[in-house]
Symmetry: C2
Subunit: 115 residues, 2 copies
DNA sequence: GCGGTTGACAACCATAAGGTTGATTATTAT
DNA sequence: ATAATAATCAACCTTATGGTTGTCAACCGC
């Protein structure tokens, strides 16, 4: 599969249902049932979406009595922010920042295309 | 399929090959052949990846003589930046910004879960 | 203990995604 | 005109994704 953090995170965020789940969780923790209620699909489907988010490290699930509560985890979003931040220069007409990023890519990033 | 801009963009970014292509294009325009050279896959496969990026509005393709040159388009990245920016508050312990975003979601965003 | 909730899990299905190879179209060079 | 290069297209294959339904386990409230 796509095992790297960025791919997992971007993939998790590429679905509107999952982004809506995150938006709800940004308000505060919620059970799977509460999370599923607004959507026109089975709770099993929502549970699957939550698994994708969990797998990407974007949420945590912890059981309390019979309910399974989910909480948001910001870590991967920070990575996304850092990644897109490197390209921010593109629309700010300030190319230094991007050059720095690309230099760093060349140096350390395993994801850079191998020449 | 997934027709909204954010889903298309996140989806396009969820592949390491495509992110590497973007990183290369951030330096400047390049032909499909040049873009494909570092990768251990057929140019047809790279061409497909480029089509995904193009479909997400992240690049443009324009033919010049027999070459097909690609250029980066920052627009969708701006949208990503805005989206993740709303969550930035989560790791900055400043919840006002996020509250504003969620309020806005409630008001206008078609993607918010329908209650 | 019994019945109702909660939610995960498994099997299944349809479609999409990521890759291959082979054929096709433009364009350039000889 | 012929040959070589550039790159898309089409068909195909394999695996992943997003959904369904049904079963099962755990946890309440009686």
């Amino acid at each position: 599969m796509e095992q790297d953090v960025l791919s997992l995170t971007f993939g998790a965020l590429s679905d509107p249902t999952r982004r809506a789940l995150l938006a709800r969780l940004a308000i505060g923790e919620a059970s799977v049932g509460e999370l599923a209620q607004p959507f026109d699909m089975s709770t099993a489907a929502v549970s699957k979406h939550l698994k994708v988010l969990e797998n990407a490290g974007l949420i945590n699930r912890h059981k309390r009595s019979q309910y399974n509560y989910c909480t948001l985890e910001a870590g991967p979003l920070k990575d996304i922010d850092r990644w897109v931040g490197a390209y921010r220069a593109l629309w700010h007409e300030n190319l230094e920042q991007l050059d720095d990023y690309l230099a760093e890519l060349q140096r350390v990033d395993p994801e850079a295309p191998k020449q």
